[in-house]
């Protein structure tokens, strides 16, 4: 076995380190070491919605074990978690809670849409209580296809997220706090507070159309 320490890809290529100091000393950029720490300690939120959550549990269990990537610390509190794995079908009734949980997470925060339902509605897309993809409300970093994605696919998706983190800089991550998403309201249907004007316009037009149709029917009868 070689005694050479594992290269974590931390060293900046421009600097020559004497051979006897390799493994002890690293010359690198702040971004790189910072991201190295973040990518290897992604704490997902312990939060499952549907079938995909079962595969998420299996991923955390002994056979697949995403602890190997530093992700085993599932936090039940959004305040302590870095990544929200939206594991399952998002329904309109559940959506306000999910948005609230997202708002409560500390920056920098990431969202992984796990499975067909979270990515775009999946088999339940046409359902009246189903949100056809969480990306209609939250910014999504990684989409994982599958119904449900196998544990391997979930791990691959999280590795893609690690790659994304590698490319970020501190400036970008801490430049601005991320935007608070207004919490949708359960009215006659789910309502995004940012769209109230649009809703009002739509229902006004709809009422006019219905009135016109009724008047037409009356005229035809007469």
């Amino acid at each position: 076995m070689s005694t050479k320490p594992k290269d974590e890809g931390l060293n900046s290529p421009k600097y020559e380190i004497p051979e006897d100091l390799q493994g002890t000393v690293t010359i690198t950029t702040l971004d790189r070491i910072y991201n190295w720490g973040r990518r290897n300690s992604l704490w997902p939120m312990m939060f499952g919605l549907a079938c995909c959550a079962i595969e998420m549990i299996c991923t955390a269990a002994a056979r697949f074990d995403f602890a190997r990537f530093g992700m085993e610390v599932m936090r039940p509190s959004p305040r302590q978690s870095d990544v929200m794995i939206v594991a399952g079908t998002v329904t309109k009734k559940m959506l306000p809670q999910i948005v609230r949980l997202y708002n409560q997470m500390a920056d920098p925060k990431y969202v992984v849409a796990m499975g067909a339902c979270a990515s775009g509605g999946g088999p339940f897309k046409e359902g009246y209580n189903v949100v056809a993809g969480i990306d209609k409300y939250l910014p999504v970093d990684v989409y994982i296809p599958g119904c449900p994605p196998t544990p391997q696919a979930l791990i691959y998706g999280l590795m893609k997220l690690q790659e994304k983190i590698d490319k970020q800089t501190i400036k970008e991550v801490y430049g601005q706090p991320s935007e608070m998403i207004p919490i949708p309201v359960l009215g006659p249907d789910i309502m995004d507070p940012r769209e109230y004007d649009k809703i009002r316009e739509y229902t006004r037009q709809k009422a006019e159309q219905e009135a016109a149709a009724a008047a037409e029917a009356e005229a035809a009868q007469a």
Partner: protein, 582 residues
């Protein structure tokens, strides 16, 4: 004439002579049972329960017969001593459907009547708590009515003309002005609208107990557990009133995973529903396939070949094993043994999932059953694996779990005497499966009303008598052992031969009529009620979900216990939200 037919004839005489004019036999082709007039329903149900012994009301659901302008409520009642169902129906006009509530006679009808009100708009007079259950208060319309259309509505039935045979595609989002599946009633104004506060309704409905003769003034508080809570097995919410740490009252709130299974199911073709059933109880996909296949086969009148029957039984029992050991692992999680026992449980589950993957192509969503058989045969090497599991590995591993857990002092202290459900209560609340049997009622559909080839196997109906959390844990252990026995016998007897009856087709024309297929799923009696009008799509597709109906008894079990016990009582019922909310 056999004894049973004589009995059924007697029942018919009793019912028809006791209620002349108001009770008639259902004469429609393909239908069975009785049609009862709404005004006589309560007397009819009382007679059924008290005189004829139909003490278990299994399923209540509604059907919207739009062309006839009628709403029909369908009831399925059983005797807990076994035997076939007695079906009775009430027909009411569609404009103002009012049916007397059966909750005073069968408390198990509670949630099911609320669901029929929520989705079909049938009012149940005399229901103590008639609120929406799956959707939220204030939602526009009753979605399962045939003239109610979802925002992404495209056509009445699949396959949609736009996709087939033309092969066009488009995004449903592009056709909606909001780019989402939302729709609002005409003239609605979000600014002047005041919310119907569902939460206030729930909080008001909760009981509060005045303590007499207590000098120390205390306040009872309302606590929400869930919907995002690590121990609620998904997105389930319990609203509890607490006096100190003691639960005074509890109300389960669900619908956070209501995926409109039944509405989508009525647009799908018959076979298209098969993969959707996988996603009901996603821990027991094979059992769900089984129930749906049985219901449709009843209408089609096909019988699977011998080998297929054996494959079905092997798969259904493997499902039960993996579900129960997972349930035990998660139950220990709820008790506070964080993840260690689950790791042992999941290890075995993975091996069973490997078998599912090998025969069906997917670990969880198997889509394996077909009408009249199964999709693929079990390859020889997989058969050897199942053999190894059933004869060697699983019996040893179950004994191992048993050794670690059953006599553990913590499991016993926390489980014994907690969340007791008496046999009378269990029957009245229509509890099913392990919950019912742990209360001392030896009712197992595999024995009480055998389906498939379960009458050929030698197994015991597991039953325990204390009705507490600990017994519900023990009964799962017992059932796993019985399932292993069944698999061992099936493996020894399985013949060679075809695995599906007739030629497989994508479009089935199912003869008009109704059918109720039920199986003993891992969670309890899983029933599928389907109505066909002779077309390629079901007119009504309803799932009698054991996880949903077992929750009726939750409040009763939790009252008087500590709030930490509510978590393990819920764990001991073993619900899966995909099935609870559908």
């Amino acid at each position: 004439m056999s004894e049973q037919t004589v009995m059924i004839q007697n029942e018919e005489e009793v019912l028809l002579s006791r209620f002349p004019e108001v009770v008639k036999k259902d004469e429609r082709k393909g239908y069975e049972g009785y049609i009862v007039e709404a005004k006589a329903l309560k007397d009819f149900a009382t007679t059924l329960r008290d005189e004829l012994g139909y003490d278990y009301l299994s399923s209540v659901t509604g059907v919207d017969y739009l062309p006839e302008g009628k709403m029909e409520v369908v009831y399925h009642a059983y005797k807990t001593t076994g035997g076939p169902a007695l079906v009775f129906k009430v027909q009411v006009p569609r404009e103002n459907p009012v049916v007397p509530s059966l909750v005073p006679i069968y408390p198990g009808a509670d949630f099911q009547e609320r669901e029929a009100w929520d989705l079909l708009g049938i009012k149940f007079e005399g229901h103590p708590n008639l609120k929406r259950i799956l959707m939220w208060e204030g939602f526009h319309g009753h979605p399962l009515r045939k003239d109610w259309r979802e925002p992404f509505y495209e056509a009445e039935h699949k396959p949609y003309k736009s996709r087939f045979p033309n092969g066009e595609f488009f995004r449903a989002e592009d056709r909606n002005p909001f780019g989402k599946n939302v729709d609002y009633p005409a003239g609605f104004d979000p600014e002047t609208w005041t919310p119907d506060n569902s939460n206030a309704l729930i909080y008001e409905g909760l009981g509060r107990v005045e303590k007499a003769g207590d000098d120390l003034p205390t306040e009872q508080i309302v606590v929400n557990l869930g919907p995002q809570h690590p121990s609620t097995h998904g997105v389930f919410r319990m609203v509890v009133t607490l006096d100190g740490e003691t639960i005074v009252d509890l109300e389960p709130v669900m619908g956070y995973l209501h995926r409109n299974h039944e509405k989508i199911g009525e647009r799908n073709t018959w076979l298209m529903n098969m993969p959707f059933t996988d996603r009901l109880d996603y821990l027991a996909p094979m059992s769900n396939n089984f129930g749906y296949a049985l219901a449709v086969e009843k209408l089609l009148g096909v019988k699977p070949p011998e080998r297929a029957e054996y494959i079905r039984v092997i798969m259904a029992e493997l499902t039960r094993i993996q579900n129960h050991i997972f349930a035990i692992g998660m139950f220990l999680n709820d008790m506070g043994a964080y993840f260690t026992p689950s790791l042992y449980a999941i290890e075995e589950r993975e091996l069973i999932l490997d078998i599912f993957e090998a025969v069906a192509g997917s670990r969880m969503m198997v889509n394996y059953f077909r009408f009249g058989g199964v999709a693929r045969d079990i390859p020889e090497d997989v058969m050897a694996k199942i053999r190894d599991l059933a004869f060697e590995r699983l019996p040893r591993r179950i004994d191992e779990l048993d050794r670690y857990l059953t006599n553990s002092e913590i499991v016993r202290i926390r489980g014994e005497g907690v969340g007791v459900l008496t046999p009378e209560q269990a029957i009245a609340y229509s509890a099913a499966g392990p919950v019912l049997r742990a209360s001392g009622v030896p009712y197992d559909v595999r024995r009480a009303d055998p389906y498939s080839i379960y009458d050929r196997f030698d197994f015991d109906v597991a039953v325990r008598y204390h009705g507490d959390v600990y017994d519900r844990y023990l009964i799962r252990m017992d059932e796993v052992r019985q399932s292993i026995r069944i698999i061992q016998q099936a493996l020894d007897q399985i013949p060679e031969g075809p695995i599906v009856a007739g030629k497989q087709q994508y479009q089935h024309r199912v003869p008009a009529g109704e059918a109720y297929g039920r199986v003993e799923g891992p969670k309890g009696e899983l029933g599928f009620y389907v109505v066909s009008t002779g077309k390629t799509n079901p007119w009504r597709y309803h799932v009698r979900a054991p996880s949903f109906i077992n929750l009726t008894a939750l409040a009763e079990m939790c009252k008087g216990h500590k709030v930490a016990d509510a978590v393990i009582i819920l764990g001991s019922i073993d619900i899966v939200l995909g099935e609870t909310d559908r």
